[in-house]
């Protein structure tokens, strides 16, 4: 346990999610036809599938729904909601297990989610879906293994897949793309590993696989991919059956890999690119969030990084320290700004930056609560963040702390 550190942010509620406070990489806000506001939360691991929190009064949040995974050898790390349809990613811990892929739920009655359909990506070389993006009600953009592809390296299994869910009861694949050279049969040679690691662990770094694919309705012909050790990609997906690379940027190496999120700021010609910290005690420091000049989308130029607190101060407090998920400016009941960037930085908490001058990003607010009870590390591990249209910040601890609700005074 440690003291709270904060600047221009204050905690207005804390919900431990019924004792299952390990929050994954999915938070999405639904506003029901009756005006109820429900925050859907993915869990870091079993036994829970997903939780629904009534945040209509953000100072008095209530757990109204919590579902179980079909078995303990899987997780549902990611989710998104559009309208009354919730999409949940299923990732298994061993190759070949099911269910792997994603499931759609009708959450028009949020206390009683009803399955609409499942889309399976299970296969002998697949561990299913780690992450998904679903903001237009039409397509799920998926980071997943496939039933058919054979990765040359076992950790390079998750590729970009575009799944048409316009008929939500019958999802169908529209297109796919992967890093050239990562699959058996590719003409390209395998990519050079950044920091080679033992092959016996499926999770973790040393991977050329997709993490996030962000596609925004105002520019539906572009996909922004964080391809872990492969760096950042912009794809032209105007023909979804044939995604084509427009540009690629990677700081790895010399930087230590794991590009996670690539978020465009369209009006400003910028990209915000986060590299996920994946090791405790700053073993993979520095894991940065980059600001990229993308005015010429074919020539991506890094111009700054979001300033982090000193590694000597945070690196050895316990747990991970560095960048991870960003609030992704998604449509819906969501804060959308091209100047204010909100991110989750594990033991450095939630941090808010002013990007008015993209050459000199400025830290303007932060909130670092004490390490929660029953966590496997002594510090907070802020894993995911979502900001609603009113500027209320929802953030989740990776291991046990559950949901933290904050107000920004900026």
């Amino acid at each position: 346990m440690s003291e709270t550190l904060s600047k221009n942010m204050k905690l207005i509620d804390h919900n431990t999610l019924g004792g299952f406070g390990g929050v994954g990489e999915g938070m999405a806000l639904q506003v029901t036809s009756k005006g109820k506001r429900v925050l859907w939360i993915a869990h870091e691991g079993p036994p829970k599938n997903f939780s629904g929190i009534d945040v209509t009064d953000p100072k008095n949040t209530k757990l109204i729904c919590q579902t179980e995974l079909p078995h303990q050898n899987m997780r549902s790390n990611s989710l998104e909601v559009t309208g009354d349809i919730l999409a949940v990613a299923y990732q298994v811990y061993e190759l070949g297990l099911e269910p792997a892929g994603f499931e759609l739920f009708d959450v028009s009655d949020p206390e009683n989610p009803k399955s609409i359909s499942k889309y399976s990506t299970a296969g002998p070389n697949s561990r299913g879906a780690h992450c998904l993006w679903f903001v237009d009600g039409e397509y799920v953009h998926l980071a997943s293994g496939t039933p058919d592809l054979v990765p040359r390296h076992p950790r390079d299994d998750q590729i970009y897949q575009i799944i048409d869910v316009r008929n939500p009861s019958k999802p169908v694949e529209s297109g796919r793309w992967w890093y050239p050279g990562t699959m058996e049969g590719d003409d390209a040679p395998p990519p050079e590993r950044i920091i080679p690691e033992p092959m016996d662990q499926l999770r973790g770094g040393d991977a050329f696989r997709l993490h996030n694919a962000n596609v925004y309705p105002e520019h539906p012909d572009r996909a922004y991919l964080g391809y872990i050790d492969g760096g950042a990609f912009i794809l032209d997906i105007s023909d979804k059956s044939k995604p084509e690379v427009i540009s690629h940027w990677s700081p790895h190496n010399p930087y230590p890999g794991f590009t996670h999120t690539v978020m465009p700021l369209f009006d400003r010609g910028l990209l915000i690119v986060s590299d996920e910290c994946i090791k405790d005690d700053a073993e993979d420091w520095p894991k940065l969030t980059w600001v990229i000049d993308a005015r010429n989308e074919k020539n991506l130029v890094p111009i700054s990084t979001l300033p982090l607190p000193p590694v000597e101060e945070f690196g050895h407090k316990g747990g991970r320290f560095g960048s991870h998920n960003l609030h992704e400016n998604r449509p819906g009941p969501s804060f959308r700004s091209e100047e204010i960037i909100v991110g989750a930085f594990f033991n450095a908490g939630i941090r808010v930056y002013n990007l008015k001058n993209p050459y000199q990003p400025e830290l303007i607010a932060y909130f670092v609560p004490p390490g929660p009870e029953n966590s496997r590390v002594p510090t907070i591990q802020m894993n995911e963040v979502y900001v609603d249209e009113n500027g209320i910040v929802y953030a989740g601890d990776r291991w046990s702390g559950g949901l933290y609700v904050m107000e920004m005074d900026i």
Binding site: E218, D267, R268, G269, R295, F335, R336, S337, N357, E389
Partner: protein, 251 residues
């Protein structure tokens, strides 16, 4: 920050608009004293300091543009001068502000089109054409930061930010290009304060879709007639003011 305190009283005797590519408007404000008694405004490439009765700031107003003899040597037509003026405005827009640039470019298209509504002067008696009136259009002050009075917040100078501002002599027309974005509380409070306390301010919000479509024209319908007919009340057109060195008498 003596200058800051001096410049403001109730009723906004003077209005300071810091504009363009200024990273820290406070440093600009700190350099300035109050307006000299014999002047109603000051205009530079970084700021406009305006009294209540300051004349309109137009593309032809002296002070904001520095046209050197070298720069003017190849300017042999109104059209070239107009393009040069646009270029000078564009240099006062952040490279990362696509919408500002779109707005200004469409504004220049608009004022050019507006001159076509004017009657062509008799070329036997007049040396100018109707096109020459374009330089009478309002000067866009990009990335406008308007100093708030000390009583708003005493600790430090505060500025209400608008994407573009125009001073028409009667109104300070403040344009917001991104109102569909989430606005943070501190920015909203500053704008609201200015709106509620500055009797000459008018805020025009441009919907995002009016800029996003590349085929859309300048959103003239969102501005009043006095704004659209910028030549009203003027007798003759005038081009952008040249460098003082060109205006000084020959020895």
């Amino acid at each position: 920050m003596v200058g800051w305190a001096l410049r403001h009283g109730d009723g906004y005797i003077e209005t300071l608009v810091v504009y363009g590519l200024v990273t820290n408007p406070t440093t600009v404000a700190a350099e300035l004293g109050p307006l000299p008694d014999d002047m109603s405004y000051l205009l530079s490439g970084r700021y406009a300091l305006l009294s209540e009765n300051a004349p309109a700031l137009r593309l032809s107003s002296p002070g904001w543009i520095d046209l050197t003899p070298e720069g003017l040597i190849d300017i042999n037509s109104t059209d070239l001068l107009f393009k040069l003026t646009l270029e000078k405005i564009i240099t006062r827009i952040s490279s990362f502000s696509k919408n500002h640039r779109i707005f200004v470019e469409r504004y220049f298209d608009f004022i050019q089109d507006q001159t076509k509504k004017l009657k062509q002067p008799d070329q036997n008696t007049e040396i100018f054409t109707r096109y020459d009136w374009v330089f009478s259009a309002w000067l866009p002050l990009t990335h406008a930061r308007i100093l708030l009075p000390e009583k708003f917040k005493k600790q430090e100078p505060c500025f209400a930010e608008f994407d573009i501002a125009f001073w028409t002599g009667k109104k300070l027309v403040c344009v917001q290009l991104k109102q569909s974005d989430s606005t943070v509380k501190s920015e909203r409070e500053k704008r609201d304060y200015l709106k509620n306390n500055h009797h000459q301010i008018e805020i025009v919000s441009i919907p995002r879709d009016r800029l996003a479509d590349k085929d859309m024209a300048f959103p003239a319908d969102l501005f009043d007639k006095a704004f659209r007919e910028f030549w009203s009340g003027l007798n003759l057109p005038q081009g952008p003011s040249p460098s003082p060195i060109l205006m000084s008498p020959l020895n």
